[in-house]
């Protein structure tokens, strides 16, 4: 907890992004504490993935300022952006694994292309990453031959093999059943602790996120409506937070209302 009090690893100020006439992000400001598991919550279409892709430099924001470890990631400063890319990894919602490469080749790829390590060391580090993620028996398999959970772990192995300080997770639990959602958050928390990286997760899975995270933020209509601890989120009187929080129990109340309605058979 002591480390959370240090200067933020990532600072976002007034980030704005639109596509044509549609505004997606309208002035997002956040600070991601070093060593934390920070979750950005929000309903579908709130701009969470766009926010994360702006941070990862996949999408260029219209305006705003992003600083990593105290250094501004200005688009004219290619050295700072390259340094950021070396110290940051991105886990895509779709995993974005290379289907023409084996699991071992997928994990080796960032080391082969961005470091000057010898082939032997690259192989050792890649095998080590596969072993730590408990998929070391599948190095010769192609991603299509692995289950969904194993693909997720393979994508995480590829993300951590470069030993990043920050890992960005884009909807890591999308399309998974509740058991697997728990397992994914457990995996993030476990490996965050093991490899000592800062994790920034965007998701709409409120239950798992509030249990696993150190801090949460709620993004709604391109703005941050809440930022604080999970306890603070539970206690918040903010109407948007309340609506999002209550949406978990809304199915039960909606069904109860439907059950009390009189049957109308024509």
């Amino acid at each position: 907890m002591e480390r959370l009090k240090q200067s933020p690893l990532l600072r976002v100020e007034d980030l704005r992004k639109g596509f044509g006439d549609r505004t997606i992000l309208s002035g997002v400001s956040l600070e991601i504490p070093r060593g934390s598991l920070f979750t950005v919550l929000g309903p579908s279409g709130a701009g969470k993935s766009v926010f994360l892709k702006c941070l990862a430099d996949v999408i260029r924001p219209d305006s705003g300022r992003i600083s990593f470890d105290g250094r501004s990631l200005d688009h004219s400063d290619s050295e700072a952006r390259m340094d950021f890319r070396k110290r940051c990894s991105f886990l895509f919602q779709s995993n974005a694994l290379f289907d023409s490469l084996t699991a071992l080749e997928n994990v080796s790829l960032p080391l082969e292309q961005t470091t000057t390590l010898a082939d032997k060391e690259i192989r050792e580090r890649s095998l080590e990453a596969l072993r730590q993620l408990e998929i070391d028996g599948f190095g010769g398999h192609y991603p299509s031959q692995l289950s969904g959970g194993m693909q997720k772990r393979l994508a995480l192995a590829r993300a951590i093999v470069t030993r990043p300080e920050l890992v960005l997770f884009d909807e890591p639990t999308a399309g998974l059943d509740p058991l697997r959602r728990n397992a994914v958050f457990e995996m993030i928390a476990k490996y965050k602790r093991q490899f000592d990286f800062t994790a920034l997760v965007v998701t709409h899975d409120i239950v798992e996120a509030l249990v696993a995270s150190d801090r949460v933020a709620l993004l709604n209509e391109g703005r941050v409506c809440f930022e604080g601890t999970p306890d603070g989120f539970h206690a918040s009187g903010n109407p948007v937070v309340q609506a999002f929080r209550d949406s978990v129990g809304s199915l039960e109340s909606s069904l109860a209302a439907i059950r009390t309605e009189p049957r109308t058979i024509s």
């Binding site: 892709k53 990862a56 430099d57 996949v58 390259m82 890319r85 070396k86 940051c88 990894s89 991105f90 895509f92 779709s94 974005a96 694994l97 290379f98 289907d99 023409s100 790829l109 960032p110 082969e112 292309q113 961005t114 000057t116 470069t162």
Partner: protein, 264 residues
């Protein structure tokens, strides 16, 4: 008047889009070549690209080369026999193949098989965020995905063209000598007398130029398949693959005319 203005607006928009597209394509190709300097473990990727472009296209090159030679021999024999010049069949077949048909047809076959596959592969990689993943890793996407293919094309296109031409000679000989009775020695010595080193230079220059042009166009279309306007997903990949084949085939014919005009 309003209709006229709308038409002028449309023409202007299309012209601007074309100029923007050409500039963007030139930058893409330039970036891919400059990435050669910074890319790591390039040889492995070049060998893989040579295999993908070369081996996969080999059967179609052999078949089309053989039948082109057979048809040239057949048609050439009937035209030349009217003038009593069947002894020049070898010259006709060889010069047609070396100067024009070999480089052009081999390039079109390679575009149909290797170029379309490249555009589709890059389109799918764009669609499934694999290219974005490379960018987030700090990997040069031009250096990793495009540059090895461009360098491989400089080797594969001339080699496949040479193979196409040699098989075509053999096909011409097959129909001329074996089926139509032209003396085999006359046929092959006519080839030897007709083809000069200048023709071979032209043939290889065309093959290399067609290779660079077509592979860069196919790579550009696949790489930017997400810019296809309203089309997304599988439709965007399909549209970009079609554009890749059509544009590169047209550009091969345009380049053929330009290079030929310098050599004549």
């Amino acid at each position: 008047m309003t209709r006229m203005m709308a038409m002028l607006h449309l023409i202007g928009r299309k012209a601007l889009d074309t100029v923007f597209g050409l500039g963007d394509y030139a930058l893409f190709t330039g970036r891919s070549f400059s990435a050669v300097m910074h890319s790591k473990r390039m040889w492995k990727r070049i060998i893989r690209a040579v295999y993908e472009q070369g081996t996969v296209c080999l059967p179609v090159i052999l078949i089309v080369g053989l039948f082109t030679g057979l048809v040239l021999g057949l048609q050439g024999y009937h035209v030349l026999s009217r003038f009593g010049s069947v002894g020049l069949l070898g010259s006709l077949v060889s010069l047609s193949l070396v100067r024009e048909m070999g480089p052009v047809l081999a390039a079109l076959m390679l575009i149909g098989q290797g170029g379309s596959a490249l555009a589709a592969e890059l389109g799918i990689q764009r669609n499934s965020e694999q290219i974005d993943a490379l960018e987030t890793m700090g990997v040069s996407t031009h250096g990793y995905l495009v540059a090895p293919r461009l360098l491989a094309s400089l080797l594969v296109f001339p080699a496949q063209t040479a193979l196409f031409v040699v098989i075509g000679f053999w096909g011409g000989g097959l129909s001329g000598s074996l089926l139509l009775g032209v003396d085999s020695g006359v046929y092959w010595s006519s080839i030897q007398n007709a083809v000069e080193s200048r023709d071979i230079r032209e043939c290889f220059l065309k093959a290399a130029a067609f290779g660079l042009l077509s592979i860069s166009i196919c790579a550009y279309q696949g790489f930017h398949s997400h810019r296809g306007g309203a089309e997304t997903g599988a439709r965007a990949v399909s549209a970009s693959t079609t554009r890749a084949v059509v544009f590169s085939s047209i550009m091969v014919l345009v380049a053929d005319y330009v290079i030929s005009s310098f050599f004549i």
